[in-house]
């Protein structure tokens, strides 16, 4: 297997409705990534595109072919990845595999979404399509509902009283907004307080509005190159040191593990084993905080804190810059935004920028390694990527 580096990244501003199509958003992110890579669009050999909703948002299927043409690379093979919220992570992982395996030397991966454009009722309906349409949607489940079920399960299983857990969850959102306020590309650049979270309206008990990530329009893209090609293009290659991906059936089939997400434990182990790194070696992580409780669950399965203890760690500041593991210093899904088919690539964008030391106020000083964690559906897909400084 060959070494693979990321040689350029691009990302649009994340926001509510942007008045741009998903193709236009991707093209803006991709052309930035291409120009940062010191290549021409015609040098690219393939496109791996994450996208979930453009069929519903824009009546646009087959968006990957239009994106390839739009970025100036008409003719290259283009494939679309739909892995719910983990779509772009899966796209980046497959792009990595294709270059590592020697088939390509230079490819682009990323994602694009116009979820905010859809409005809340249709967006809630289409997001719910990532749960089981036969055995879960029948009961009226929503995505906040899935994580609400897990919140109560977490509280009982680990003996954290719900009022205490709610406070810990609120602190997760407060941290995300603190960093979002320091990211010019974030959807919400405004700090909030624990009281703001606890006074926001109830979506699905115990999940309140400010425990939830927003609907977002946006896109992100990364250019991947074999080691040999990367060395010609940049003096600052960021290597993909390890990847992991796993799947699971609906929530009911995961009963022996909940509130832990089994697919995360499988994927994380793959990525740690491949990279030879352990949780203590990771300098910064972008993880899947679709709902505040999801951060607590993720931190434990990824090996950063003991089961049932991550909430206390969050309250002590262990997940902020200067703490044990800086988490979502981009603002995360909660404040940066969650254009679902683009999120995994936006996480990689942030880690690459952190490793290059280009993050200004939210820079984790001296970051040499970083990890992404992206969850699709109710754990149906989980993808982890570990990145490492190459100079």
């Amino acid at each position: 297997m060959r070494k693979v580096a990321i040689v350029g990244v691009g990302m649009t501003k994340f926001s509510g409705k942007q008045n741009k199509t998903a193709v236009e958003l991707f093209t803006e992110a991709a052309t930035d990534a291409i120009s940062e890579s010191n290549i021409k669009p015609g040098d690219l050999q393939a496109l791996f595109l994450g996208n979930c909703l453009s069929d519903f948002a824009e009546g646009q299927m087959h968006i990957q072919a239009f994106c390839a043409e739009s970025i100036g690379a008409a003719g290259i093979p283009a494939n679309r990845y739909e892995n719910a919220c983990a779509s772009a992570s899966a796209a980046v992982r497959d792009a990595f595999i294709s270059v590592a395996g020697g088939f390509y030397d230079l490819v682009i991966a990323g994602g694009t979404e116009t979820a905010a454009k859809m409005g809340t009722p249709l967006a809630t309906r289409t997001f719910a399509m990532a749960s089981d349409g036969r055995y879960e949607f029948s009961a009226g489940i929503t995505f906040p509902g899935v994580f609400a079920l897990l919140s109560h399960l977490y509280s009982k299983k680990y003996g954290v009283p719900i009022d205490k857990l709610k406070h810990q969850m609120a602190q997760v959102s407060v941290n995300s907004h603190y960093y979002g306020a320091r990211n010019p590309r974030a959807q919400f650049q405004k700090e909030i307080t624990v009281d703001d979270v606890l006074n926001s309206f109830m979506v699905a008990t115990p999940i309140q509005l400010q425990d939830c990530c927003p609907f977002t329009d946006g896109a992100a893209a990364v250019v991947l190159a074999s080691e040999k090609v990367a060395k010609k293009l940049t003096s600052k290659p960021v290597y993909i040191a390890g990847v992991g991906q796993a799947s699971a059936g609906n929530l009911l089939t995961q009963k022996d593990y909940l509130p832990r997400i089994r697919s995360r434990e499988l994927a994380a182990k793959q990525s740690y084993d491949m990279s030879g790194l352990k949780p203590k070696d990771i300098d910064v992580i972008e993880l899947h905080d679709c709902f505040s409780i999801a951060t607590l669950i993720a931190l434990e399965s990824l090996g950063f804190f003991e089961y049932g203890k991550s909430g206390e760690a969050v309250e002590k500041g262990e997940t902020r810059i200067g703490g044990k593991i800086p988490v979502n210093v981009s603002g995360g899904l909660k404040a940066k935004g969650h254009p679902i088919g683009a999120t995994g690539a936006a996480q990689v964008y942030e880690i690459v920028k952190q490793i290059r030391g280009e993050c200004g106020e939210r820079q984790v000083e001296g970051a040499k390694t970083g990890m992404t964690d992206c969850l699709g559906g109710d754990g149906g897909t989980l993808c982890n990527i570990i990145l490492k400084r190459g100079w």
Binding site: P121, T124, G133, R134, A139, T142, L153, A204
Partner: protein, 137 residues
């Protein structure tokens, strides 16, 4: 390999207030939702069986913001119930006011009062049944 119990047959039986599953002739596991091989041991020696419809609430939530077309249903309680035979199932909880339900319901015994049927929308496979549970005692 053909399914011995399809989603359609499971759904139709549920509409008649029966929860069907597949008992594994090899390891004895009861599989719900239906599958083509046992989710525990992978055997295809599966026979259709009817479950009692009783179990224990594992967790719950009260949904206040519904997906498109299901707004008239809110607020409603979703429960994950561990059935006596072992599988978990997702359903709704009736007989309790949504604004009064707390974590105290977790661990309580319930039984399926009847099935409740969502008519479906233009995206769904068809109409969709799910169990409506009530608390025992």
């Amino acid at each position: 390999m053909q399914y011995k119990l399809t989603f359609k047959d499971y759904n139709e039986a549920l509409k008649q207030n029966k929860i069907l599953g597949l008992k594994c002739g090899s390891c004895g596991n009861v599989n719900v939702p239906p599958c083509v091989v046992c989710c525990k041991c992978g055997s295809s020696e599966l026979d259709t069986c009817e479950l009692k419809g009783s179990g224990t609430i594992q967790t719950y939530t009260v949904i206040k913001v519904a997906p498109e077309n299901r707004e008239p249903e809110v607020p409603y309680i979703i429960v994950l119930v561990e059935l006596e035979e072992g599988p978990w199932i997702m359903g709704n909880l009736g007989g309790v006011k949504p604004e009064e339900v707390t974590m105290a319901v977790m661990g309580k015994k319930v039984t399926m009062e009847k099935a409740s049927v969502y008519a479906g929308d233009k995206y769904s496979w068809g109409d969709l049944a799910r169990p409506l549970f009530t608390l025992l005692n």
